[in-house]
């Protein structure tokens, strides 16, 4: 296990990786945070994954875990790899496992960072989401109609019908819910997972869509939908505050009639 600290006094850090910011020496009152981050490189697939420890002074870093990761990458270890885009919790690129809780790295003072649970890892904390995207594609997440629009222009919808989509369309497909679901851990090849099922419900509930029966028929087997046992880790962990568990319950109701 390697320890890379922000301070340059140890001499164990090679000159190319020394930090330009002088961190204060270990002071019992200072709140230097240590970060234990999972590391693994596909360039040497035979090496074992390991946890690397970094220390940072949180007073000089932004409040979010992502700020800390960016600072570590800029100053201490440029080889650290992670996905990120909006840095404000809206795009879902940086979704990861922090201190055991799956979420996006938004304001929290936590210190352990691991990839999304039960996913294959591309490098360090970057998960491989190709399975997830394939499942999303399989539910046909687009409007399907057999008849043209009644007035030839738009597919109209009342305010009440549009309201039914609130809480469903905001999903950013960050995969936090699916990767926090134990049922998805054990059956990810056949169970669709809460994120994909919620989107499936988003299209079922859309009054403009005309292929409800086909969509329901696609879910009518023992694995795609019914591996959900209402564990509800998904609703708990959603970084946007959505409720996939509720959406899945609505699908089950719709399937029952």
């Amino acid at each position: 296990m390697e320890t890379v600290t922000g301070a340059t006094t140890t001499g164990a850090v090679p000159p190319t990786q020394t930090t330009t910011v002088k961190e204060p020496a270990a002071d019992p009152d200072s709140k230097i945070k240590t970060f234990h981050i999972d590391r693994w490189s596909p360039d040497e697939p035979s090496t074992k994954p390991r946890i690397q420890i970094y220390t940072l002074d949180p007073n000089r870093t932004g409040p979010m875990m992502l700020d800390a990761l960016i600072r570590i990458k800029n100053e201490v270890d440029p080889t650290l790899t992670f996905r990120r885009s909006c840095r404000e919790g809206i795009c879902g690129s940086c979704a990861m496992n922090i201190d055991g809780a799956v979420s996006q790295p938004t304001p929290r003072q936590k210190a352990r960072s691991n990839p999304l649970p039960h996913t294959y890892v591309v490098k360090d904390i970057v998960p491989d989401l190709t399975q997830f995207y394939k499942q999303y594609k399989s539910i046909k997440p687009y409007l399907q109609r057999s008849t043209p629009a009644p007035d030839g222009k738009e597919y109209r919808q009342s305010k009440e019908e549009r309201k039914k989509l609130d809480g469903l369309y905001e999903c950013i497909l960050c995969a936090c819910c699916s990767t926090s679901c134990p049922s998805y851990w054990w059956n990810s090849d056949e169970y669709l997972g809460p994120a994909v099922l919620m989107q499936s419900y988003r299209w079922l509930a859309d009054s403009r869509d005309e292929h409800k029966e086909e969509r329901k028929a696609q879910l009518d087997n023992s694995m795609s939908l019914y591996r959900c046992h209402t564990i509800l880790n998904c609703s708990r962990t959603c970084p946007k505050g959505l409720n996939p568990g509720y959406a899945i319950a609505e699908i089950k109701k719709a399937m029952a009639f």
């Binding site: 596909p42 697939p45 035979s46 294959y120 491989d128 190709t130």
Partner: protein, 78 residues
């Protein structure tokens, strides 16, 4: 050669799949695809046969690459 283990058979099956997909490409570029597959497999030929995680990782990577290159739009590889 002693009996092949399940993992060895899986690796060989992947290689055979790569060759089968190469045969579906136009005649003049088939050799390119076959050479590419051979090179990719030869890169990790020195791996210890007991290093399961590395082997499985490379197999997953190979499978993903195969899915991309097998699509009919890909006409040549250099």
């Amino acid at each position: 050669m002693a009996r092949l283990s399940g993992l060895q058979r899986a690796v060989l099956a992947l290689y055979r799949q790569c060759l089968r997909e190469s045969r579906k490409k136009p005649e003049n570029v088939q050799a390119h695809f076959k050479a590419f597959a051979r090179r990719e497999f030869e890169k990790s030929i020195g791996l210890d046969k007991k290093d399961f995680s590395a082997i499985e990782y490379l197999m997953r990577k190979g499978q993903r690459q195969l899915e991309i290159y097998a699509s009919p739009g890909i006409k040549d590889i250099r």
